[in-house]
């Protein structure tokens, strides 16, 4: 089990993790489809199929039949009341010789809820005896690199979204300023009791 921290609150991290792809750190992901998405007792339950493309040596293709286009299934639950997002991922190809179950959980850090903790665990099952050791080593290597890439990917998305929302906030606040200017000048030109009927647009 592996723990990582984000110095952002749960909502920020989960919003980024939800729209994690595409990001420059995980370029292998080439397509995603949402096969199920529903609300259940205040939670979002979601199932996605993720397509990734890898360059793998041709001998490996011969050996395993695995072409380098990989599909995985991701089951996500988001519980905003408990503040927990969990993702369980399994590979959909090559299961006859390799099965990887990965689980990610995002929760607020108990001692500091302005931060978020990500726990990652993976269960790897290899059923190709002669290559078990080799595969395991290679895989674990790739896995730990990917785990780091995954977290960096989420961080990249957080920054990206933050910039977009800052732009939006600047825009909204300049609109609000403009609006209050108008209201003020309307009041100044009016001798009647100030009464503002114009509802400012909600600044969500």
């Amino acid at each position: 089990m592996n723990e990582r921290f984000f110095s952002h609150n749960w909502e920020t991290v989960v919003n980024a993790a939800w729209q994690k792809y595409p990001n420059p750190m995980n370029g292998a992901v080439t397509g995603i489809d949402v096969v199920r998405q529903q609300l259940d007792k205040g939670q979002i339950l979601s199932e996605r199929v993720i397509q990734s493309k890898f360059h793998i040596p041709s001998w490996a293709t011969t050996l395993t039949g695995f072409s380098g286009t990989q599909y995985s299934h991701e089951f996500t639950t988001i519980d905003p009341q408990k503040k927990e997002m969990s993702l369980t991922t399994r590979n959909l190809n090559g299961n006859s010789f390799l099965r990887v179950d990965e689980k990610l959980v995002y929760k607020p850090l108990p001692e500091d809820p302005s931060k978020t903790i990500l726990t990652q665990e993976a269960i790897v099952a290899i059923t190709l005896p002669a290559f078990t050791e080799y595969c395991e080593k290679t895989f674990l290597n790739v896995y730990s690199t990917n785990a780091t890439k995954g977290r960096r990917g989420v961080e990249w998305v957080i920054d990206h979204l933050k910039k977009a929302s800052e732009d939006l906030q600047n825009k909204v606040s300049s609109e609000v300023n403009e609006l209050s200017e108008k209201v003020r000048s309307a009041f100044n030109s009016s001798t009647a009791a100030p009464q503002c009927n114009a509802q400012p647009a909600t600044t969500r």
Binding site: Q19, P22, Q37, V49
Partner: protein
């Protein structure tokens, strides 16, 4: 932000996906906010998802890009979640 988009696995379903994603991402942001009435929420994007999902499921059936049946995974996943719940109820978890 608009330039960062994830395509569908099937180009034929991409337009449906983009419509749906736009709707659900907006809803998602409201939904995860602490003061949202989570338990009473309806998915406002359900219809868009139906159309999009039909497209994807049809392509998955035709092209069979992987050998695993999604229903099997679903069953296994739900069973293990139920086991956990049972464990909790029996106080063994």
């Amino acid at each position: 932000m608009e330039d960062r988009r994830m395509p569908s696995i099937f180009p034929e379903c991409d337009a449906l996906k983009q419509n749906y994603d736009k709707c659900f991402t907006e809803f998602f942001q409201k939904f995860i906010a602490p003061n949202y009435r989570h338990r009473y929420a309806d998915n406002p994007c359900e219809r868009l998802h139906e159309a999009y999902k039909d497209c994807v499921e049809q392509r998955l059936k035709e092209k069979r890009p992987f050998e695993i049946d999604l229903n099997e995974i679903r069953k296994e996943y739900l069973n293990s979640e139920e086991d956990k719940l049972k464990g909790k109820q029996e106080g063994t978890a």
